[in-house]
């Protein structure tokens, strides 16, 4: 990275060339006050707090718009500068209600902090100088008190640049400027990022309003449990209640995770499921028609003796264990070990059905290079096949938008349903539903392009274009979702060899041509449509390396890296630690259900609602479960499956147990316990190992979850060398990839299977326009049948039926 030397307050420092002065100052320990500046948003220079004196420039300069240059001499503190800063604070406070005692932001308010740091201790403004406005609710999740606003417009920029939603904007003029929306009611995906970045109490979370003061909050960094992105959250707890989840608190502290300051609606507003009244609070045993509360000893003994009985009568193979893919590694590992060693059955699986990405195919030839969020943000080209990250993996969608906007990355989309990301795409191809695999074949086998185009129902030119772009690019991130079926997922392993860039020159030339074309593009005149690429001269010359200041951009070692958009928070982990039935040689979860009453006599289900996931086949599953001699369920909620169980154990949620999970980039992250268990709940691994102990096999963990992970790191190569301590200190650690050896792949066979698949698509899927209708919508939220305030409020919000993105 090119560097320059400059002098800040008499100290010579070295900085990345083109970096903004305000960031360079901060890197070197000189904090400049700011309201409008926010890392990664377009410069605004409106609050005038960060003024500095730069030699040879007559006027004071704003450090947030000034790229550092060689030989620059900067003064950041002098009487003159301090006078300006205190003047700006005085201006801001002259029309601020100063109602800190009733403001939720007090205590973590940047206006408070900066007044304390840079303002005067008295003001000349008087009460009658202020212009009072009324506080109001502008969405189910956002309160707005315009009088507290300092008009920094972080919120509107976050809405436009991070989320691409343009839901809120500044209305009115001059001192009457307020943050609002057209019509006054905000219609958006309720991500709440605008509230997080607000430096004052202007925007507030409705669920958190008047709930706690910041100094009463205990904040613990942990990992969100709702999708496979694995964002870090700061879990705010008070009196053993989990009351707030944010990515960034008012003082700018983050959990230091892969998501920096970003968090989506689900991570933020669904946490109250933890304290839901629907939680199961004690073990229960079936007595005839009813599930009757029991003591832990009773229930554990009951379960253990029944399991032992069936194992005696029908043999180990008659038993099955099913775990949910959102459980922590420790829970799943103990479950697998319990099945193998105590029950003596190969039938253990994490629940995944044929609609999901086939993990076995993806990992057939080894662990491919997985792209982290940083890799996505620094990719040259991103190809998205299937899925809509906007709804299912919001952080991935954020990173894609970041790459396109800040780094001029090329986004290609192959999808059967509409997505808002298409606005950022250079080419978005809408294929027929179920034919995404054909596009993969088109990329690998150019000779079959006609047939594949017919199968996908798209033009040959589109496919040629996509292939051409992939060939020319230097670093490509392939993001794919459920729509890609087994053979196509397997074929992704061929990308590295089949789509290698001819030469570095070709890649450079293509990149330059792309940047040139962007330059030529006449800017859109639509006021609600910011240009896809950041037009601001400062951010375009500032080659923001990553969200981390001064770091080298993250690049993968191979040309292609992958992001499988798994459905659940730990799908990848479940597969890595060997809970996959295909690896164990036992029955899959589906096979176990279908085999109930026949080969399977007892099921041990952890955290999964088999009936809820039955996909319209509920009566069949219910009949099958009815045939079982024994159904044991561990769950947080009284699901339909739990209701038909013989014994039910209350288990802890992610907030109450410690453990690890692996996100879709293969990053192992530590989930911390933020509150004690609710009711009598116990961690899943503890319940399982208690039963194991009663059945005669002591795993020897002695109640220590670390001991389980130690065993995992010894047994699972990908996790070798990891410990909870290390994860706690270092944050997310990516498991080592073992890229497929191309020699080991039977290329001809794979391509033949792919062709057969395409031909089948061509034959079986009729061309029918109704197939192209959107099926996006409630998929992510629908996976969690939890009673949360989130879903309740979405229904309640001002008579509005459903929100835009996540209908309840």
């Amino acid at each position: 990275m090119e560097t320059v030397k400059l002098t800040i307050d008499g100290v010579e420092v070295t900085a990345p060339k083109g970096e903004l002065l305000i960031e360079v100052c901060e890197m070197n320990g000189v904090y400049l006050p700011r309201f409008c500046h926010f890392r990664g948003l377009t410069p605004q220079a409106s609050c005038r707090m960060c003024v500095v004196r730069v030699d040879k420039i007559p006027k004071l300069q704003t450090a947030c718009t000034m790229p550092v240059a060689d030989g620059m001499v900067v003064t950041t503190a002098s009487d003159e500068i301090e006078d300006v800063r205190s003047g700006m604070i005085e201006f801001l406070l002259s029309n601020h209600p100063v109602d800190c005692p009733v403001c939720d932001r007090a205590g973590e308010c940047e206006l408070q902090d900066q007044t304390f740091g840079f303002g005067e201790d008295r003001t000349r403004s008087r009460f009658e100088d202020k212009e009072p406005t009324l506080e109001r609710q502008i969405s189910p999740f956002i309160y707005n008190d315009p009088q507290r606003c300092v008009t920094c417009k972080r919120c509107t920029r976050v809405c436009e640049e991070w989320m691409d939603e343009f839901a809120i904007t500044a209305v009115n003029r001059g001192s009457h400027t307020v943050i609002s929306s057209f019509g006054g009611w905000v219609e958006c995906s309720d991500c709440g990022n605008c509230v997080d970045v607000c430096p004052t109490g202007t925007l507030l979370h409705v669920p958190y309003k008047y709930v706690a003061r910041p100094w009463d909050l205990k904040q613990t960094p942990t990992i969100c449990n709702y999708c496979s992105d694995g964002c870090s959250i700061l879990a705010g707890t008070r009196s053993e209640q989990f009351i707030r989840a944010v990515a960034r608190d008012g003082r700018g502290r983050t959990a230091g995770g892969i998501n920096n300051d970003f968090l989506c609606a689900l991570g933020r507003y669904t946490i109250d499921a933890v304290h839901s009244p629907q939680r199961i609070d004690r073990p229960m045993i079936r007595r005839g028609e009813y599930l009757v509360p029991a003591t832990w000893d009773e229930a554990l003994n009951f379960a253990a003796s029944k399991l032992a009985e069936i194992k005696n009568d029908d043999g180990g193979a008659a038993l099955g264990a099913i775990g949910a893919a959102r459980l922590l590694n420790e829970d799943l590992f103990v479950l697998g070990k319990f099945a193998a060693e105590t029950l003596g059955t190969p039938n253990a699986d994490f629940y995944h059905d044929e609609d999901e990405i086939d993990t076995a195919s993806f990992f057939r030839y080894g662990i491919p290079v997985l792209a982290t969020q940083e890799h996505i943000q620094n990719a040259d080209t991103i190809i998205l096949i299937g899925s809509d990250p906007n709804e299912e993996n919001p952080l991935t969608a954020f990173s894609i938008r970041w790459a396109v906007r800040q780094k001029s990355a090329r986004l290609l989309m192959v999808n059967s349903m509409p997505s808002r990301l298409e606005r950022q795409a250079e080419r978005a191809i809408r294929v027929r539903e179920g034919s995404e695999g054909a596009v993969v074949e088109a990329l690998l086998a150019p000779s079959r392009i006609e047939a594949t185009a017919a199968a996908a129902g798209v033009g040959v030119d589109d496919l040629r274009f996509v292939r051409q772009v992939l060939l020319e690019s230097e670093r490509v991130v392939v993001i794919f979702g459920d729509e890609l079926k087994a053979t196509a997922v397997e074929a992704l392993a061929l990308f590295e060899t089949q789509l290698a860039t001819p030469s570095a020159d070709v890649a450079t030339a293509a990149r330059n041509a792309h940047l040139d074309a962007l330059q030529r593009q006449v800017r859109s005149t639509n006021s609600t449509n910011k240009p896809a690429v950041n037009e601001n001269p400062f951010t375009s010359i500032v080659a923001h390396p990553t969200l981390e200041v001064g770091a080298e951009p993250a690049r993968t070692s191979t040309k292609f890296s992958f992001v499988p958009l798994f459905r659940y928070s730990n799908s990848l982990g479940a597969c890595l630690i060997g809970m996959d039935a295909s690896l164990r040689g036992g029955l899959s979860a589906q096979a176990m259900i279908n085999g109930s009453g026949g080969g399977i006599q007892a099921l041990y289900v952890v955290g999964e609602d088999l009936l809820g996931k039955a996909n319209g086949d509920e009566s069949h599953v219910r009949t099958q479960l009815g045939k079982l001699k024994l159904l044991i369920v561990q769950d947080q909620f009284m699901t339909e499956t739990a209701k038909s169980a013989h014994v039910v154990f209350p288990s802890t949620s992610f907030a109450e147990s410690q453990g690890t999970q692996v996100n879709n980039a293969g990053q192992v992250q530590l989930v911390r316990r933020v509150i004690p268990p609710v009711g009598q709940a116990r961690p899943d691994w503890m319940i399982t190992s208690s039963i194991a102990k009663l059945m005669g096999s002591d795993f020897g963990y002695q109640g220590q979850v670390r001991a389980i992970f130690k065993e995992i790191s010894e047994r699972v190569n990908a996790c070798a060398g990891l410990t909870h301590n290390r994860l706690a200190n270092e944050g997310a650690i990516q498991v080592s990839a073992a890229p497929p050896d191309s020699a080991g792949i039977d290329r001809a066979d794979l391509l033949a299977r792919l062709s057969a698949e395409t031909d089948r698509i061509n034959k079986e899927i009729e061309v029918d326009s109704s197939e192209l209708t959107a099926k996006a919508g409630s998929r992510l939220h629908g996976r969690y049948p939890l009673q949360t305030r989130y879903s309740e409020m979405l229904k309640a919000g001002d008579g509005r039926e459903s929100p835009v993105v996540f209908p309840a």
Partner: protein
């Protein structure tokens, strides 16, 4: 006195017709530029003329044009700033009303010099009737082949559009004007890059005032040196002044640069109305510091001379005030205007003008507190030079100069009751 801009004003609108305009020597400069001059020569001629921007800042026009990069990936544009919103200024209105073709001709020569295809006139929304005049004139120019494809056989295409504003003072600031022209909210843009490099739709753009562009045909016809000779060494040519207030004959006057201000007021405009004495003059539109009657005597009408008495030539809106005027009230009026027109982008202008107005309002009710005059001065000082765009300075300068020069009008507004004096003393 040589007239440059107002030669056709006496025709009272007949020059709006293209035939009359051509008969009186119109479009000759355009033909000369197209047939005899290279674009570089046109820029050189304008540089020689010492023509300076007539919108207020007085930046040398030729230099502004030469900042436009020759090679550009994006199209270049010429934009005419006809958003004449400065209180006390009405020169552009008359230029466009009596002689629209001169502006069109000037813009075409500019577009030729900069190799731009499309040009825009951003006109103040309240000038809707002038917009109609301009559009008729543009239609005639298209008919005669001065606009459209293959202009004057040069093989080049020129288009001209009129775009009305929607009533915001800030849109007279060139970058806010460009935002507004693009269809966005009128906020100033961050500079650099200047519009000459990244302007309208991201392309290099020259934004010039109506008067500036209207002077271009004369410069091309008669040469830059001739134009420069009309005025002073550093400020070439003539300038239109809108003289308003307590004078016998208010109106637009074209005088050469360096013309004595007292001569303009007492001779051309017939002196102060009703035989009253002169109290103060705002020499360049409401945004510039006020000057006293004594300063008027030694003030010449060019950029340097006005600066010498501590004010600015600005847009040339001369507001004359006689001895009956309470300078406090006029300043209050201006502050109200700037508060109303502040766009709200940056802190000092948004909050400062509001606060200023609040203090002015209570002083207006004779409820000023001891220290309020100093407060006004300090607030203005906190705005001056710290705002994002020049509008903040424009709001602050009149206040500071009015207090400095007419302190007694402000002091009268302070209420000294016994209690307050006591409290004040206890401080």
């Amino acid at each position: 006195m040589t007239k440059v801009l107002t030669t056709r004003f006496d025709l009272k609108g007949e020059a709006c017709d293209i035939d009359v305009y051509i008969k009186t020597g119109g479009y000759a400069a355009l033909e000369k530029a197209f047939r005899e001059m290279t674009p570089e020569a046109v820029i050189e001629e304008v540089k020689k003329s010492a023509l300076r921007g007539r919108g207020g800042a007085g930046f040398p026009t030729g230099m502004k044009w030469s900042f436009v990069p020759k090679e550009s990936k994006r199209p270049k544009y010429v934009v005419c700033n006809a958003d004449e919103s400065e209180p006390g200024t009405g020169k552009d209105r008359d230029l466009m009303r009596w002689d629209p073709h001169m502006l069109i001709e000037g813009m075409l020569i500019t577009a030729y010099a900069l190799n731009a295809r499309d040009s825009y006139i951003y006109i103040r929304g309240e000038y809707w009737y002038i917009k109609e005049i301009l559009e008729r004139a543009i239609a005639q120019a298209y008919e005669r082949g001065y606009l459209g494809k293959n202009v004057l056989g040069s093989g080049r295409e020129f288009n001209l559009y009129v775009h009305p504003g929607a009533g915001a003072y800030i849109c007279g600031e060139e970058t806010a004007l460009l935002e507004s022209l693009e269809g966005k909210r009128g906020h100033p843009r961050l500079k650099p890059p200047f519009p000459a490099v990244v302007g309208l739709y991201g392309g290099p753009t020259v934004v010039n005032n109506v008067e500036t562009l209207a002077a271009v045909p004369w410069i091309i016809s008669n040469g830059g040196d001739a134009y420069r000779a009309l005025g002073t060494e550093k400020s070439g040519g003539t300038k239109l002044f809108t003289v308003s207030g307590h004078i016998v004959r208010p109106g637009n006057y074209e005088v050469p640069m360096g013309y004595p201000m007292s001569k303009l007021i007492y001779e051309d405009c017939g002196g102060i109305r009703n035989g009253k004495k002169l109290k103060a003059v705002i020499p360049g539109g409401s945004s510039v510091p006020i000057i006293t009657a004594e300063e008027v005597e030694k003030c010449g009408l060019d950029y340097e001379s006005v600066a010498a008495v501590g004010s600015m030539l600005g847009s040339g809106g001369v507001i004359v005030m006689d001895e009956t005027v309470d300078i406090f009230e006029t300043t209050r009026n201006l502050t109200h205007f700037y508060h109303h027109e502040s766009c709200g982008w940056c802190t000092p202008c948004r909050e400062g003008t509001r606060w200023l107005q609040k203090v002015f309002e209570r002083m207006h009710r004779y409820e000023g507190r001891p220290g309020d005059v100093e407060l006004l001065h300090e607030l203005a000082d906190k705005i001056l030079g710290k705002s994002f765009c020049p509008l903040g300075d424009a709001a602050a300068m009149p206040v500071q100069s009015a207090i400095d020069k007419f302190r007694e009008d402000f002091d009268r507004r302070i209420k000294h009751d016994l209690v307050q004096i006591k409290m004040h003393a206890a401080d």
